[in-house]
């Protein structure tokens, strides 16, 4: 099992009721599987912040909205396998970091 640190920021605190925890993750799990696992754990109010959806450049998208070890999973320079990157012992995930209010 890998020990993974999860930090929860304002967008998801309503769902998690805590600002962080350490989870045991089965060896061999990738990021996509881990995101499914934690989305199931905390339900739809959490899951809606794990993936962002919308339209950009005229195309619909669905993409993870999380940080792993202070980096976005979409930065292929850091994560060539993207969401298929294997979760490792000591990894740190951030959920709900980027906020969208302003009005």
């Amino acid at each position: 099992m890998a020990k993974v640190t999860c930090k929860y920021f304002v967008n998801v605190l309503g769902a998690t009721k805590k600002d962080g925890e350490i989870l045991d993750v089965p060896d061999g799990m990738d990021v996509e599987q881990f995101l499914d696992f934690i989305s199931n754990k905390y339900g739809p109010d959490f899951a809606k912040h794990v993936y962002a959806t919308g339209t950009v450049a005229g195309e619909p998208f669905k993409t993870p909205n999380i940080y792993l070890n202070k980096r976005r999973i979409q930065w292929l320079q850091d994560f060539p396998a993207g969401v298929k990157t294997k979760v490792k012992d000591g990894d740190e995930f951030w959920f709900g970091l980027i906020v969208g209010g302003g009005c």
Binding site: A52, T55, K70, G96, I98, G100, G101
Partner: protein, 245 residues
């Protein structure tokens, strides 16, 4: 273009800044800035750019002022509930500094209207409350090579970054966004993030100081902590991935 005696007097304290002087002040006077939103972020942004002497402020908001806005939207007051926010902003800003030009746009920013609303400006400031509209502006900014300052806030937390793709990541590279919702917000937190955006704008326009390029400052007002996160471009970004340096 020159500075009048009144302008020299009005701006003398910022002109004392090393490297600022008349030259930087004239740069501000010649500048044309688009402010998307006249709410919690738009209020401090517009007020500090106006009082600093940014020559033309083009402020856009299609919303009407409600009483529940007034804990944070300090451009407005009780007497203007029901007014369009851009029109209210124009009235306040022209009172604060009669030497500048304020254009109030009362339309909704959409993929179809964005070009006509923003036009050619030196800088765009994101003072919006939703990511779909932010991404419309991001696309326009990237394709027209206009620098774009992003800010967001929720409760007592917020973030700010300076975007000038392709030299920096664009907004898409940094965040795909969060679902729109009615959220808690403390007015002073919007003030902090809005002031950071205004300062980023003044540094860029004046040429004094360095901007948050390729970095995002995340500020947690609840614990009074800051994180300075390096940002990177997404190689296959659908917005800026094909734009060459």
């Amino acid at each position: 273009m020159d500075l009048s005696e009144q302008e020299q007097d009005r701006y003398c304290r910022q002109m004392m800044m090393p490297g600022w002087g008349t030259e930087a002040q004239l740069k501000l006077k010649r500048s044309r800035v688009f402010i998307a939103g006249a709410g919690g972020l738009g209020s401090p942004v517009a007020m500090y750019l106006a009082t600093a002497g940014v020559g033309t402020l083009r402020i856009c908001d299609c919303g009407e002022l409600e009483l529940s806005n007034l804990n944070r939207q300090i451009l407005h007051d009780d007497t203007r509930v029901g007014w369009n926010k851009a029109a209210s902003a124009k009235k306040t800003l022209e009172r604060m500094n009669p030497d500048i030009t304020v254009e109030a746009l009362q339309e909704k920013i959409t993929a179809g209207s964005v070009a006509g609303l923003i036009g050619r400006v030196d800088l765009i400031l994101d003072c919006l409350d939703n990511f779909p509209t932010r991404h419309i502006i991001n696309e326009y900014a990237v394709h027209n090579r206009i620098p774009f300052i992003h800010g967001g806030v929720y409760g007592m937390q917020g973030q700010v970054t300076f975007i000038q793709a392709p030299e920096t990541p664009c907004l898409w590279c940094i965040s795909a966004g969060t679902p729109a919702a009615v959220f808690p917000i403390v007015g002073a937190a919007a003030g902090v993030i809005g002031c950071m955006e205004a300062l980023e704008a003044l540094k860029y326009l004046s040429g004094v100081g360095t901007n948050l390029r390729g970095r995002m400052l995340v500020w947690n007002g609840e614990t009074t902590e800051c994180m300075d996160l390096p940002q990177k471009r997404i190689p296959d970004c659908p917005v800026c991935g094909h734009v060459n340096r």
